[in-house]
Amino acid sequence: MNVKAYIESGILETYVLGLASEAEVQELLRYKEAHPEVQLALAELETDLEHLASLMAVTPPPAIWQRIEKDIDEITRIPEAKIVKTGNSQHTYTSNGSNGQQFIEVEGKTSHIRVHRAWRWVFAAVFVLGKIFLICAIYFYLENRQAQEQIQQLKTELKHFKTVP
């Protein structure tokens, strides 16, 4: 079958709709690999299907995502205490089920930590206050040194007056 006839045969449409048989899928993948025009036609059909779905979209209520988040939280809890090493991963994960509480400890070898965004203002304030204290310390140090020099000078002058009759 030539490429044009293949594209117009309807096989691509059945594939995009998920109705193609395994043999048809394998044949299509071979055509797709060998002929860019099949690849292009397939991409266009996928866009058409997405366009159709977007026209029929329904905004999901917020409760659905909350339910998914809850499910994800449950997936991260492992009921029994055990250590799982993840292949070539640099992390070791432990789970502890004591006192009915389930949690995951993450022991990472990485030197980086994750900090909540709100802490940046605290860090900024600490940085600014640190600078203010440093400037104050230098100022008072210089003031003190100047005062010491003046005292020393006055003492010298006083001694001088005492020695002069």
């Binding site: 109705l19 266009e44 026209l55 659905i64 990472g108």
Partner: protein, 149 residues
């Protein structure tokens, strides 16, 4: 396997899942609502499908709409919720949709049975008493109408 904080780890997968949900959640809910003919069941299945995506090690998080649609269909089939319905007519509220309005009644019926009822070409051909080639050609024409809409 739980890979929490490293690149490609669990937290990143959860973020990517959220992005996929933002992009396709509404489209999938629209599809499920029509396929299951039940808004509550559609919401339930939408949540189940996205949870399944993360359960299968997050492999589906980079899915295109076609791949997500296929994944959803397979999940519905496993749950016995798809593949058994045989539509003899397309609901009016569907045919009022811009993409469907310009199709002929036959194109609408073939496309609806294929897309929403997950019926094979052979099964639709049998129902309409037409050759499979004819059904395939009708699907090609239906896609051409969607493209123009």
């Amino acid at each position: 396997m739980l890979n929490a904080i490293e690149p490609g780890g669990f937290l990143e997968k959860a973020d990517n899942l959220r992005a996929l949900y933002e992009r396709y959640g509404g489209m999938l809910l629209g599809y499920l609502t029509e396929t299951l003919q039940d808004g509550d069941a559609a919401g339930e299945q939408l949540a189940n499908i996205f949870t399944d995506l993360i359960k299968q090690d997050g492999n589906g998080i980079g899915y295109s709409w076609r791949q997500l649609h296929k994944f959803a269909r397979e999940r519905l089939a496993v749950s016995g919720l798809a593949g058994s319905r045989k539509a003899t007519m397309v609901p009016e509220y569907i045919t009022e949709n811009l993409a469907w309005r310009k199709m002929t009644a036959e194109q609408q019926l073939v496309f609806y049975n294929a897309y929403h009822c997950s019926r094979t070409v052979g099964s639709i051909a049998q129902q309409l008493n037409k050759p499979e080639e004819y059904i395939r050609r009708t699907l090609v024409e239906a896609f051409a109408v969607i493209r123009k809409s």
